[in-house]
């Protein structure tokens, strides 16, 4: 049995959700691993791009931030924020955004702003960055989280980014005509959203996790009735991740890095 890190399992599980031809809006850390791995393994015609404006960089080394010079190198095009975000929202593209968060609620809404009173918070995070925009404008978002009760909450301290809002059709009624949360990928498994109610449920748990671990670490009741065990990382998936995507092992070898908070 091959050993692998949480980050590797998460990147692979998320990468498997990408379809060929998707235009993938990547963040940093595991999100970038997942996006790059997806393109190299599952979706060769996917295009990876960054909110800073870099489209389809060669990514010979893994960037440490979306402002890293590595997202400008070997690109199709170097532009800027306006171009990147209008691409995220472009009606003719199927755009998928990878995002991290400090808190998520059952409808896939995200908090990356603060805990406690907004004006004098107990804990302040980095803020929206492009998360609010990608959540509003992309065809869908895939969220990376550490699976902890304090992060999977009944009510967000601050709603930075709209997922399915209040469930049902409420997102559309806001005027957001497409998009919504596709999945939450955690160190324990993959959660999806019910078609009608838009409530989160457990779809897969990772080989090293269990349904009970998910229930214990989720701060709201969660449907786990249909959950199945995830296929572990395949040797060829790990090979691409380690040899092509992150040869310096900056992200692969550790657990999930740099989640807000």
């Amino acid at each position: 049995m091959i050993s692998y890190s949480d980050n590797e399992m998460m990147a692979i599980a998320a990468g498997r959700l990408i379809n060929d031809g998707d235009v993938v809006f990547a963040g940093t850390g595991v999100a970038m691993l997942a996006a790059t791995a997806a393109k190299r393994i599952y979706a060769p015609r996917a295009v990876v791009f960054f909110e800073t404006g870099g489209i389809d960089p060669s990514l010979d080394e893994i960037p440490m931030a979306v402002g890293d010079s590595r997202v400008m190198s070997g690109t199709s095009l170097n532009s800027g924020l306006i171009e990147a975000f209008s691409t995220v929202g472009h009606r003719k593209l199927h755009t998928i955004a990878f995002l991290g968060a400090a808190q998520v609620d059952r409808y896939g809404n995200l908090n990356t702003t603060s805990i406690g009173n907004y004006y004098k918070p107990g804990k302040r995070f980095s803020g929206s960055g492009g998360a609010c925009d990608a959540s509003a404008l992309a065809s869908g978002i895939i969220i990376f989280m550490q699976h902890e009760k304090r992060r999977f909450v009944e009510k967000l301290d601050y709603l930075t980014s709209v997922g399915w809002y209040k469930g049902g059709n409420s997102r559309q009624e806001l005027g957001l005509k497409r998009g919504g949360a596709i999945a939450v990928v955690t160190n324990l498994g993959v959660l999806r959203f019910h078609k009608e109610t838009k409530e989160m449920y457990l779809r897969e748990f990772f080989p090293r996790a269990s349904v009970d671990m998910v229930v214990e670490n989720t701060g709201f009741p969660i449907d786990v009735s249909g959950a199945k065990k995830t296929l572990p990382p395949l040797p060829e998936e790990l090979k691409v991740l380690r040899e092509e995507v992150d040869p310096q092992r900056l992200i692969c070898q550790s657990d999930m890095n740099a989640p807000p908070g």
């Binding site: 940093t28 850390g29 909110e51 800073t52 404006g53 870099g54 010979d60 080394e61 960037p63 440490m64 931030a65 979306v66 402002g67 890293d68 010079s69 590595r70 997202v71 400008m72 190198s73 070997g74 170097n78 532009s79 800027g80 924020l81 306006i82 975000f85 929202g89 702003t113 907004y118 004006y119 004098k120 918070p121 107990g122 804990k123 302040r124 995070f125 980095s126 803020g127 929206s128 960055g129 492009g130 609010c132 925009d133 509003a136 404008l137 601050y158 709603l159 930075t160 980014s161 709209v162 809002y165 997102r171 806001l174 005027g175 957001l176 310096q248 900056l250 740099a258 807000p260 908070g261």
Partner: protein
């Protein structure tokens, strides 16, 4: 500098540019993004000159934002993101300042801030977007009604209006334009004719510059007219938008400057460590900012060894194989 008659009145040393154009209470925008092309030399000089009460308008200006806040230069902040990638998921001095209630602040998103600069650049008072509907970015305004009376602060954070061109219900956000008093960018090249050329991603730099009353460009090199005009399709700003041009090699250190140098991971880690503690951060400022008579002195302290390590491979734009853990 005598070689450049076309820009003779704009070429000046950094201390002069800051003294002439940055003032207490000014609304300031800075170029770059998290760990890239922050106008760091200018930020250090602003701190050295003791500029106060700055109203900073930012999308994701990591390192420069954090040090200006940490040094106490910033009173008011409009911000989308304060992080430095893996080096500081949330910028440390920013985080402390917010948690301790030391800043007047208001949150936006990156696209919203970029669009607000675009509106300023286009000379229009507002610009619509769908991004933000339903979020707490709309629900919570950060500024008090008194602050909103300031002429550089919009009277509303947002307006939600119906789309007059739709027969169905279609609500949309209007974002107020930003027109900073000053924008500072760090660019790779300025030509002897004043043309500015930025290599690699431009982030929202061009919108920030065109939105501003005054523009300071720090740059790696002043280049001949024949060089900058060889391929005008690559150029970024004509001379008439700029007010001060300052040659500052490594002027973005410790952030990166595409094709010239990478970010300095050791410095960013040192910064983070010292920023975590108030006393250490004072030491850091004394040692690395107040104690430096110029950016050249600062670079000597960084040392040749590190400058060589972060030197970019010009074909790639970054330092291949740089130790970044």
């Amino acid at each position: 500098m005598e070689r450049c008659p076309e820009i003779a009145d704009k070429l000046m040393p950094l201390d002069e540019a800051v003294r002439r154009f940055i003032f207490n209470g000014c609304q300031l925008a800075i170029g770059g993004f998290t760990v890239n092309r922050n106008p760091m030399a200018a930020a250090y000089e602003i701190i050295r000159q003791g500029i106060e009460d700055i109203h900073l308008v930012c999308h994701s200006n990591g390192q420069a934002l954090d040090i200006l806040i940490g040094a106490g230069c910033v009173k008011r902040l409009e911000i989308a993101y304060s992080g430095n990638g893996r080096f500081a998921p949330t910028c440390v001095r920013f985080k402390k300042a917010i948690e301790e209630g030391e800043l007047e602040f208001e949150d936006y998103s990156n696209y919203q801030m970029a669009l607000r600069f675009l509106a300023g650049a286009l000379g229009i008072p507002f610009i619509p977007t769908k991004s933000g509907l339903g979020s707490d970015l709309i629900k919570y305004g950060g500024f008090s009604p008194e602050i909103r009376e300031d002429e550089k602060v919009a009277n509303l954070k947002y307006a939600v209006v119906g789309n007059p061109f739709s027969s169905e219900k279609d609500e949309i956000l209007l974002l107020p334009a930003l027109t900073p008093d000053v924008t500072i960018l760090h660019a790779q090249y300025v030509g002897e004719d004043g043309t500015v050329q930025i290599n690699g991603l431009t982030f929202a730099d061009l919108e920030q510059a065109k939105a501003a009353d005054t523009v300071i460009i720090t740059c790696e090199e002043i280049v001949p007219r024949s060089f900058i005009r060889l391929d005008p399709d690559k150029n970024s700003l004509p001379s008439f938008f700029t007010d001060a041009i300052v040659k500052v090699p490594y002027g973005a250190h410790p952030t990166a400057c595409f094709k010239f140098y990478d970010y300095d991971p050791a410095y960013l880690k040192l910064y983070r460590k010292m920023a975590e503690d108030d006393n250490l951060f004072k030491e850091y400022l004394d040692e690395w900012v107040y104690g430096m008579s110029s950016h050249e002195a600062y670079l000597s302290k960084v040392g040749t060894e590190m400058l060589l390590k972060i030197k970019a491979n010009p074909a790639l734009g970054y330092a291949q194989g740089l130790e970044r853990k």
